[in-house]
């Protein structure tokens, strides 16, 4: 096998399965097979999907710098898949919130008005939702055909991945009650990933 075949038939399936493992563990814990959810299972699931969405956006944003530093150009081939996995975790985070926490699926007294209020009056929810909308737009246009058809507009839209990184960390930061140490770690990583690009651009 040449490098491209290795990426396609070994690397990508492996990374794909690895990245779905956290989701499988959530399901496994919920069913009591792999472990247990906490005493507050809905919050537990919400946090786990959200955390993996943040981790995956960081990993996605790390691909290009890593490629440029190492010269391993085949790394680019993982970028779309990692972006789609980020979208998957962000979507699961959102659906857990909407269906279980806010109760669309379980609460007879559920009201859309309350969702609208949360989206408009809780700034940390507003920015999290904005990040999800951007991810959705990128996911929908992620096919080769769409890329061809959209030409320059595609590049512009997909630059918003940087905005998603910023909004994601901000969303995380803002909902923490007091201990922002984990949010700091993500902010520093994001600053390094974006800082690298600015530095690279400034050098040219």
């Amino acid at each position: 096998m040449n490098t491209l075949q290795k990426v396609r038939f070994v690397g990508k399936p492996l990374v794909f399965l690895l990245c779905l493992l956290p989701a499988a563990l959530v399901v496994g814990d919920a069913l009591g097979i792999t472990g247990q959810l906490s005493a507050n299972p809905v919050e537990d699931i919400l946090d786990r999907f959200g955390n993996w969405a943040i981790r995956l956006i960081m990993i996605t944003l790390a691909v290009t710098p890593l490629r440029q530093i190492t010269g391993w150009n085949w790394l680019t081939r993982f970028r779309r898949m990692l972006g789609l996995l980020t979208f998957f975790y962000a979507l699961m985070h959102f659906l857990t919130w909407l269906l279980l926490d806010r109760g669309l699926a379980v609460d007879p007294a559920f009201e859309w008005a309350a969702i609208l209020e949360d989206l408009t009056e809780r700034p940390f929810i507003t920015i999290g939702f904005a990040a999800l909308l951007l991810l959705t737009a990128m996911a929908v246009t992620s096919t080769n055909g769409m890329r061809r058809r959209m030409r320059r507009a595609w590049d512009k839209l997909h630059y918003s991945v940087y905005a998603v990184g910023v909004l994601g960390v901000w969303h995380y930061w803002w909902q923490v009650k007091k201990d922002t140490s984990d949010a700091w770690i993500y902010a520093v990583i994001l600053a390094a990933l974006l800082g690298y690009r600015i530095w690279k651009k400034a050098r040219h």
């Binding site: 926490d101 806010r102 609460d107 909902q175 007091k178």
Partner: protein, 319 residues
């Protein structure tokens, strides 16, 4: 550490199988015997985790809710106690090594009786009662907890506050060696809380020393903590080492940390949102994955008993 070789252990030192089998009874009997020496309190013996002392002579109370309490597991594995970490399961994970004995409590300020008391002596004058209370956390989750405690009003009366005593202030132990969470300055240590004297003498307020009929687990605030069921949970200061009667309103930890988010009163109020999230509803712990949130009640459902304490006070400003 001195590790004895087999030859150094005399046969008389080896626990007989009979005694080994009965060791739990032995510990329990020891704690009860210790308790009777200490005039009716159950705090004589240091009891290792997993061998908590059953508290004797616990009376029932008409203030208890008839709602079903959360499981022992819920109550002891999911809570906030930043002295042992900021995660909700951190207190359970990190408080196991903590030894709440010996323990003393200093009473000072505008009171007739002041001084520093051994915990066991501090407890002597008071009767134990079970109080099954709703607990509403400011993070919008809630539990029902079967506390065992003493009336805070009785405690206040016992120390004879003077007319200058307008507030009662509480302080947690400050010991980063024993409380690993204090090695980071997430909050200003020691944790501090306070009540008006009217709140502190309200019959619903208690100092809890147990839960589920047994002495308080470390992670829940051993050996003694405050419980004020109509206020958000963070008012329930844990591991209390100082009680002060003050004329001025005492500074309180979460208000120091973020004055725009946490007020001095911190009464449960579904109409006054936290600046970042709604307080209109809460997630009842123990409902599982598919239980809907439930509406939060004014004063956590204790309005009939406590609303009069706040007559004429604008609860939006004094949140």
């Amino acid at each position: 550490m001195l590790i004895k070789k087999p030859a150094d252990i005399r046969p008389s030192e080896i626990t007989s199988e009979q005694n080994y089998v009965n060791r739990r009874d032995f510990i329990r009997a020891g704690s009860i015997a210790g308790a009777s020496v200490l005039a009716g309190t159950a705090f004589g013996a240091v009891v290792p985790e997993g061998e908590r002392a059953k508290l004797p002579d616990v009376g029932k109370s008409p203030f208890s809710t008839i709602e079903a309490p959360n499981s022992h597991e819920d109550v002891t594995t999911y809570n906030n106690y930043y002295e042992f970490g900021t995660g909700k399961e951190d207190p359970y994970r990190n408080a196991g090594q903590f030894d709440a004995r010996p323990w003393s409590i200093t009473v000072d300020g505008h009171a007739g009786k002041t001084g520093t008391f051994h915990f066991e002596d501090f407890m002597k004058p008071f009767d134990l009662e079970e109080r099954i209370y709703r607990m509403r956390c400011v993070e919008a989750w809630s539990m029902v907890i079967p506390w065992v405690g003493i009336s805070l009003a009785d405690v206040v009366k016992h120390f004879q506050p003077t007319s200058n005593a307008k507030y009662v202030a509480f302080e947690t132990l400050n010991d980063p060696v024993r409380m690993p969470g204090q090695r980071r300055r997430v909050l200003e240590w020691p944790y501090r809380e306070g009540l008006t004297i009217a709140e502190a003498t309200h019959p619903l307020a208690i100092l809890a020393v147990g839960v589920y009929g047994e002495s308080l687990p470390n992670q829940n605030g051993a050996p003694i903590r405050l419980v004020v069921p109509w206020k958000y949970g963070f008012k329930g200061i844990k591991g209390i080492v100082r009680i002060s009667f003050t004329e001025e309103r005492p500074p309180v930890s979460w208000n120091i940390a973020a004055a725009n988010e946490y007020g001095f009163y911190a009464n449960v109020n579904p109409d006054v949102d936290h600046p970042r999230w709604s307080q209109a509803s809460e997630r009842a712990i123990g409902g599982g994955l598919f239980a809907p949130r439930k509406p939060t009640q004014m004063f956590n459902g204790y309005g009939e008993q406590v609303a009069h304490l706040y007559d004429g006070l604008d609860l939006r400003k004094n949140f």
